[in-house]
Amino acid sequence: MDQPVTTNPFVIMLINMTIVFIVLVSLSFLIRLIHYCDPTKVKETPAEEPKAVAPPPPPPVVEQPVEEGIPEEVIAVICAAISTYGYSVGQIHSIRPVHNNHAWEHSVTYPNTRLTH
């Protein structure tokens, strides 16, 4: 085709937006179809009556909330940061240093995490 079918910008906009919506709506149906046909999905089972079970005994060892060796300034900064996000300090379960978490370090420093195409 040598000449475009139309050069009216509003007609081009209307036709193209319609096609984009139709294609993406069709894709969403395909996604639902894949989910429907998925042989590996866990089927929802009706909730069973909970059996009367005695409550489990409390854990014998209580985890130390703050591991030794962490400076008080660091604990204060963590508490302040958590408070900033709307949580109370009483919700903190424990504060522990993370050792040898190389995967996380790599995900933070990896140059591709900054790539926006």
Binding site: V20, S28, I31, G86, R114, T116
Partner: protein, 376 residues
């Protein structure tokens, strides 16, 4: 005396062959532009992985008498990679290998947000035609609103290759400015109550779904829109490498080594199109302005459709995720997250916004495909 004459003739010959002799004011301005872009890339850290090589390519392109495009050499080979649309699909291969489609698969309705955000493409197309660009140039300019660099380059090489430099620079510059451009639009179009909406957790997605989606969508879209089969096919092939679980080496290569190498070539080659003769025109300023209109239009389209979805679902969808419908993966999703957290601390929207963000990539490619089918 003879020695003096020979020396003078040699010096004159060196001078006449040098770049200084043929250097123009335009070359000087474009080298200054390249230096400014370098500053933005390396000091301000605006998309340094892309703007850096683009800026350096711009500087290289404005040295006279280099003969870069006279005979086969590295620069000409890089130029062929752009001219014959080799690099954009390879970049998409890497993007596919890097991107998790699970948020989209868990909530397919977010595809509509990716579609709605494409309105920016067509608003810019209309604007470009109204200011005098022909329909093919306007389509290539409009795709800047998709916030998708490879697709912008892909479409402009097919429809308006003479505008490639300006379009690529506008697209990548605005993508790096997404955190500055989008938030005012998002806040202007939403109420605080809407921004505070917390969305329900996404359902788990099985490996079967994650593997089947790239296969099924490639078959469907490639049959429907063959002009973008290379782009979409590579995107989905990269994602298949990632999700299959048995091609880790290929996935690793696609998302790291290959993607980095092609990024260097694509970005440098794009910069090499910014020579003074092609770039220093009034059209370039218009393209830069239209690109901004396209970005704002796309953001607004996504947010407004997000508000519609919010109403239709009884307040279960936060309209802020609509702005991620312009591609710019994952930066646009991060902006939704930041705005959500600003409205209500603890309101995590990142994973919800990744759905429309991925849909935006597909939507922009589809928009490019439909325009290619109509206009080429």
């Amino acid at each position: 005396m003879e020695l003096f004459n020979a020396f003078a003739v040699s010096l004159e010959s060196v001078w006449l062959d040098s770049g200084f002799y043929s250097f123009t004011l335009g070359n000087g301005i474009m080298i200054a532009v390249g230096l400014l872009l370098l500053y933005m890339a390396f000091v301000k850290e605006f998309e340094p992985l892309l703007l850096g090589p683009i800026a350096f390519g711009c500087i290289l392109a404005n040295f006279p008498r280099t003969g870069f495009f006279d005979e086969m050499n590295l620069m000409l080979a890089i130029n062929f990679g752009i001219k014959y649309e080799i690099f954009p699909p390879l970049i998409f291969l890497g993007i596919g290998a890097m991107t998790d489609f699970s948020p989209l698969l868990a909530r397919p309705s977010t595809l509509l947000l990716g579609a709605a955000a494409q309105i920016g493409v067509f608003v810019a197309l209309v604007g470009a035609m109204l200011v005098g660009f022909d329909v093919k140039e306007a389509a290539a300019i409009g795709i800047i609103g998709g916030a998708d660099g490879p697709t912008s380059i892909y479409l402009s090489t097919k429809l308006a290759p003479h505008l490639l430099g300006a379009i690529a620079v506008a697209a990548y510059s605005y993508m790096s400015l997404v955190p500055l451009i989008q938030p005012p639009v998002m806040r202007a179009l939403t109420t605080k109550a809407e921004r505070e909406i917390e969305m329900q957790e996404l359902r788990p997605v099985t490996k079967f779904e994650r593997v089947m989606f790239p296969i099924v969508s490639t078959i469907f879209i490639s049959l429907l829109l063959p002009p973008i089969a290379a782009l979409l096919g590579c995107l989905m092939l990269g994602n298949l490498f990632r999700e299959s679980g048995v091609t880790d080496r290929l996935s690793d290569t696609a998302q790291n080594s290959l993607c980095n190498i092609v990024t260097i070539f694509l970005a440098t080659g794009t910069g090499m199109t910014m020579n003074a003769h092609d770039f220093l025109r009034a059209d370039t300023i218009l393209i830069i302005c239209l690109g901004l209109v396209a970005f704002i239009g796309g953001t607004a389209g996504g947010v407004i459709f997000g508000k519609i979805m919010c109403k239709m679902t009884g307040g279960k969808v936060n309209p802020l995720i609509g702005s991620a419908g312009v591609s710019a993966v994952p930066m646009a999703a991060r902006v939704s997250q930041v705005e959500g957290m600003r409205a209500k601390p603890g309101n995590f929207l990142l994973m919800h916004a990744m759905g429309p963000n991925v849909a935006g990539v597909i939507g922009t490619a589809v928009a490019a495909g439909t325009m290619l089918a109509m206009l080429k």
